[in-house]
């Protein structure tokens, strides 16, 4: 898969979420994009009970409709040192999490979901979706993938130009923090990178909600 950049598009004060999405769809349509189906990224969070000893550990389990056969699990370990261990598994991993439900319990109220429409324009894939947490609207996410390129550092300028063409000044001139923090600018882009960007955004939405 190509380099993907995920941006949170702020909802203007006098507009609702769906209105914002419609506006973006109109803009991308004007560029010549063609609609091609729907997409969905969901995230469920499990955390360990008190019997495990030590601080609680959290497992985020994410699914991405772009990789329908895969399950992405990210384990936040308190450490020391604190770290995140990613795991890519096939669909039956969900069954295993059910088996472990006595050890790792799901926090249903923090289930997050980004759902919306996919667009294609030349080699770009654009997804515009709304984020909901247990069916409450949280914000608008825009995912832009440039499929022929696999090194974020190579095509950031190009993607910035593309994104600014329909998102305007929301797009920063520097690469998103995810690429700088994890030093991923010069590595081959993986589906897991997309998932981690989603998780980062979901986490910040949760923080806003005060959870």
């Amino acid at each position: 898969m190509g380099v993907t950049i995920l941006l949170s598009y702020p909802v203007p004060e006098n507009k609702t979420g769906p209105q914002t999405v419609d506006l973006l769809i109109k803009r991308i349509g004007a560029l010549g994009a063609v609609q091609s189906g729907q997409f969905l990224v969901d995230c469920e969070t499990f955390s360990s009970g008190p019997t495990m000893g030590g601080p609680p550990r959290t497992v985020h389990v994410l699914h991405n409709s772009e990789q329908p056969a895969a399950v992405f699990a990210l384990l936040e370990s308190p450490g020391p040192p604190p770290k995140t261990v990613p795991l890519v598994a096939d669909g039956l991993f969900d069954l295993l999490m059910l088996k472990m439900s006595s050890i790792y319990a799901s926090k249903k109220q923090t289930r997050m979901e980004a759902r919306g429409t996919r667009f294609e324009i030349a080699d770009f894939l654009v997804k515009i979706g709304t984020v909901t947490m247990s069916s409450n609207f949280k914000g608008v996410l825009v995912e832009v993938e440039y499929r022929p390129c696999f090194i974020a550092g190579n095509c950031w300028e190009l993607m910035r130009e593309f994104m600014q063409s329909f998102l305007g000044s929301v797009v920063q001139n520097t690469p998103p923090p995810y690429f700088q923090v994890h030093n991923r600018l010069n590595d081959v882009y993986q589906p897991l990178d997309t998932i981690q960007q989603y998780l980062d955004h979901f986490a910040s939405y949760r923080k806003v909600a005060g959870l």
């Binding site: 560029l31 010549g32 324009i121 030349a122 080699d123 770009f124 440039y146 499929r147 022929p148 390129c149 696999f150 090194i151 190579n154 095509c155 300028e157 190009l158 130009e161 593309f162 063409s165 081959v188």
Partner: protein, 315 residues
């Protein structure tokens, strides 16, 4: 029949010389007395000239009569004139419908002429001839010249490999793997080029001559699924628009750089050109200064300067 035709020709010649004599006579008559008749006795000289002309007319007249009488008349009293006989039947041009057809054929020949002129101009500018034989034929079978230039598709495979290894060593970020799809065929060679982490290309050689180029993304495979080792997939297009465009341009470049006399130089120049795509996603267009035009990066590289242009911006 032949005798008949000769007699006819004779008669026609006699008629035309008679006509020209009559024409001369009237010409002199209309011009009247001229300066060449001198100052003295101008009228006499003029009259003498006219008399000469009239005499010529009468002798020609006699000749016509003679030839006409010598034409043997066919038994039915008519000479078979073939199709030309019909010319006299319909004299109105509208009814013959000749005019529109004549205009059509005139236009057609005119256009043909024009197009072949343009084509000739193009062909003279760009030598597109891929086979050395036709090149030889057009430039005349020059024995000395043939000796100078071995036909490049017939180069032994080992020397092609040496050239490729040399090119491979020249560029740090361009790797080449050589495959021989048909071990029995000593001229066919395929190389797979990976340029940085940007693109992959497969280039098919016949001897030292590049036959086919296909460019794909860094993660697209050329190995075919049916497990035959050393067989590369030369035909499947890339999933991405960008690389399909570059494939097109690469084939154009391959033709542009082709040179029958210096085959290894052609390969070298092509590789240098291909190498310029290492900055495919970072280059901006020379003309418009942007990364993107119609959501596509600059996919054209100038053959000489290797400057990047968008498809629609290229000079």
């Amino acid at each position: 029949m032949n005798v008949e035709l000769d007699a006819l020709n004779e008669a026609l010649k006699a008629v035309s010389s008679l006509r020209s004599c009559v024409g001369n006579f009237f010409l002199s008559l209309s011009q009247g007395v001229r300066s060449e008749h001198g100052e003295d006795h101008r009228e006499t000289k003029y009259i003498l000239e006219l008399q000469d002309l009239v005499a010529e007319i009468s002798s020609n007249m006699r000749k016509v009569e003679q030839t006409c009488s010598s034409i043997p008349l066919p038994p039915d009293g008519q000479i078979n004139l073939g199709n030309t006989a019909h010319l006299a039947h319909e004299t109105t041009q509208d009814r013959q419908a000749l005019y529109s057809e004549l205009v059509g054929s005139y236009k057609w020949t005119d256009k043909l002429h024009e197009i072949s002129n343009i084509t000739f101009g193009f062909l003279a500018q760009n030598v597109m001839k891929r086979s050395y034989n036709s090149y030889l034929n057009s430039s005349g079978m020059n024995a000395k010249r043939r000796r100078l230039t071995p036909s490049c598709h017939n180069v032994p495979i080992s020397s092609v490999e040496t050239v490729i290894t040399a090119i491979d060593r020249q560029y740090q970020d361009m790797n080449m793997n050589v495959y021989r799809p048909h071990p029995s065929n000593c001229h066919n060679l395929q190389i797979q080029v990976s340029l940085g982490r940007i693109l992959r290309a497969v280039i098919s050689f016949r001897g030292m001559m590049i036959e086919w180029v296909k460019v794909k993304a860094y993660n697209e495979e050329f190995q075919t699924d049916n497990g035959q080792l050393g067989q590369l997939d030369l035909w499947t297009n890339s999933r991405h628009h960008v690389f399909r465009k570059i494939t097109e341009n690469a084939n154009a470049a391959m033709l542009h750089f082709y040179s029958p006399t210096l085959p290894d130089l052609a390969v070298r120049s092509f590789m240098t050109w291909l190498h310029s795509f290492r900055s495919l996603f970072t280059d901006t267009c020379r003309r418009c200064g942007n990364h993107l035009l119609c959501a596509m990066p600059p996919t054209w590289r100038d053959f000489r300067t290797l400057e990047a242009f968008h498809e629609d911006c290229k000079p």
